[in-house]
């Protein structure tokens, strides 16, 4: 395909934001699988993240979407250095922090913080809210004016909790409130970048919106950059300036919010958008139903990783891995890793794509019987006449 026009690096987002804060190049994480009696040897690896590139600019929110096992959470943990990368590099404000140890990481530790998924596991049940929030400040020798307690009260107020809750224990709070405490803990460090790993997926619908609004407010007012990891496409669209779609450890498509949601090119992005249900009975979406589940990351498909579930896959997809490029017709910064991209629209088409065999068979049956009964009634009416 000669559609590849330029090999542009991820270009600056069209918005206002400053210089690059975090640059990730070829980031890779393979978890070794060991087996054997007494002496374990490596028999394979879970290729959780396999060569991921992206950039987050100051004050920008980058969304990372994908299904379970696509490596989005692992990517978040690599960036925060909770996990050790197998290859690639992470540059924070131009400094290479890929393999920096704990002591040397100390100066920038406080600038990269994380908000976790499970509000019931992210707070130590044996510590009071005050201790939970001051702990990280003590470790990093942050001495707020007016003392720690005053600062904690301020933070609690910022995240919408009663400052008097200072001495309470996590079990006395609901999921949404706990998530706010987790946010206050991260804010106490005055971070420049927050990795939010599915921050609302464990919460009730009505509470999700509260937390999303809070995060958005913090992002606007404090200018914190976000790596927003989620599986919910609608929330990611709502929160992020740019969006990266991951599948089996690789980025399939990355671009501005409008690029991804209105003119997606990668078949997987199309499938994902089509599968996500909208609370609207008149939703006019193309209908794509994939077959089966995501393949195992231990033995990912050769070539393009999506080819086993793709309806456009050809011989080339098996042998050649598509590079992440700006395809003809895309805006700058909208990169797609596909040999045979889709048309840039998500509107419903004449023909549905149904790859699931059982579903296809059932629909076939239903259609045939409908046609039969239509014929019968037509015949009946003809006879009557």
């Amino acid at each position: 395909m000669s559609e590849q026009l330029s090999l542009a690096k991820p270009a600056l987002p069209s918005q206002r934001k400053g210089g690059p804060l975090l640059e990730v190049e070829g980031l890779t994480k393979h978890f070794p699988l060991r087996d054997g009696f007494l002496f374990k040897r490596q028999v394979g690896a879970v290729q959780a993240v396999d060569g991921v590139d992206f950039t987050i600019h100051e004050g920008e929110a980058l969304g990372l979407v994908g299904e379970s096992g696509c490596g989005k959470s692992t990517t978040g943990r690599l960036v925060t250095r909770l996990l050790e990368p197998t290859a690639g590099q992470i540059l924070y404000q131009g400094h290479n922090i890929t393999h920096t140890d704990r002591k040397h990481l100390a100066p920038i530790r406080s600038q990269i913080q994380m908000i976790f998924q499970d509000p019931y596991a992210s707070l130590n049940p044996r510590q009071t809210v005050g201790t939970i929030i001051t702990g990280p400040m003590e470790i990093n020798h942050i001495q707020p004016p007016g003392g720690h307690e005053k600062r904690v009260r301020e933070l609690l107020e910022t995240v919408g909790l009663n400052p008097e809750h200072y001495n309470r224990f996590p079990h006395e709070f609901s999921g949404g409130q706990r998530q706010r405490i987790g946010i206050a803990r991260a804010l106490g460090m005055q971070p420049k970048l927050i990795i939010a790993d599915e921050p609302v997926s464990a919460l009730d619908v009505s509470i999700q919106a509260q937390v999303v609004n809070l995060l958005q407010k913090l992002q606007h007012e404090l200018g914190i950059a976000f790596l927003f990891i989620a599986h919910d496409l609608a929330i990611v669209r709502h929160f992020s300036h740019r969006v990266a779609v991951m599948y089996l450890g690789k980025i399939m498509e990355i671009g501005n919010r409008t690029d991804i949601y209105e003119t997606p090119r990668h078949p997987y992005t199309h499938a994902l958008l089509s599968a996500a249900p909208e609370a609207n009975p008149d939703d006019e979406q193309e209908r794509i139903r994939l077959a089966g589940d995501v393949p195992s990351p231990i033995n990912p498909p050769t070539g393009c990783r999506f080819r086993t579930r793709c309806w456009k896959a050809q011989q080339k997809c098996t042998t050649e891995e598509p590079p992440l490029l700006q395809i003809a017709g895309n805006n700058t910064g909208h990169l797609t890793a596909c040999h045979y991209p889709q048309d840039p629209t998500t509107a419903a088409r004449d023909e549905d794509v149904v790859l699931d065999p059982a579903l296809a068979a059932l629909e076939q049956n239903a259609q045939e019987s409908a046609e039969e009964s239509a014929e019968e009634s037509a015949e009946g009416s003809a006879e009557e006449q």
Binding site: R102, S122, N124, R126, T128, R168, F169, E172, S174
Partner: protein
Amino acid sequence: MMGLPGLLPRFLRAPLGLDRGFAATVGVTMSSPTQATTYPEPSRSTGGADATVAAEIVGRSPRQLAWLRFKRDRTGIVCAVIVAFFILVAVFAPVITWLYGKNAYTLYGQDDNLLNSYGLPVKANGGIDADHWFGIEPGLGRDIFALLVYGIRTSLGISLCVTLLSVALGVCVGLVQGYLGGGTDYVVGRFSDLMMAFPSQLFFIAFTPVIIAMFVSPSDQEPTWIRFTALVLVQFALGWMSLGRLVRAQVLSLRTREYVEAAHLSGASPGRIIRRELLPNVWSTVLVQATLLLPLNVTAEAGLSFLGVGMQKPTPDWGLMFQDAAQYYRSDITYMFFPGIAMVVFVVAFNLLGDAVRDALDPRTVR
């Protein structure tokens, strides 16, 4: 009863306490995730989930909640009182015998002619009378009440030392194994497997004399404290592994918790993470395990004395009393009766206490 919180403050109250949510995932590993989410769960959906309820239970720490739950458990309270009673008896043995007016070494039976020519008490029921409440010992003729009080003191002392040492080492080993993982975990784990493979009773019988011989030559009379130490050491050597394993498993699951990750993220040192994040959450398991380990050690110690490798006459000892009483059970069953009842009551009470503590720490186990 109301005096209990005062009597056992450090020992019971301090480590009590555990969050509900935490208990669900660490304490009861059996409960399936579906049940945790799908089925009605009054404790989460009502207790913690609501601001109005939270306002009513202002500022209760997990440990206070556990204490409240424990207070409601009548069996637990009764057992705690019994256990406390035994511990008090052990601690205040000299005071008790002083008040009682007898001691554990005087041969009352021989001095006061309370034994017949076969060495059995003259009076009925093993010589029970106003002076000797539990009767007198056949043979030597010591006072059984005084003997039992001191016997409890010796046995409990040994078992408590064994338990404390086992817990200390078990927690350390478990923390190291669980936190460092990898090669260390493997090597230490195989070593504790090896120790577990030892047949413990045979080991005790074979090694107690060896250890004692290391301190004193077999021909000399050894001081009591050496035997005491030797007994503690052999039991301790084979007593720490189960707790170590438990703590290791617990730490392994805690280590990947998000709050531990959050501590890593803030740049906390490993020492701080172990101290502040892991240890407080391991305590409840350790406490429960320790309350179950102690009665086990008491019976083991009694067993050793019974087999003749434990404490030696004339040191008063619970197990030794059984050994002695076994020789006389046909002619003087009362001698067996008192130490026997005392031990059964003690062991049962301690085990039930362990259950009650676990229930208080982990309210999800429904019986």
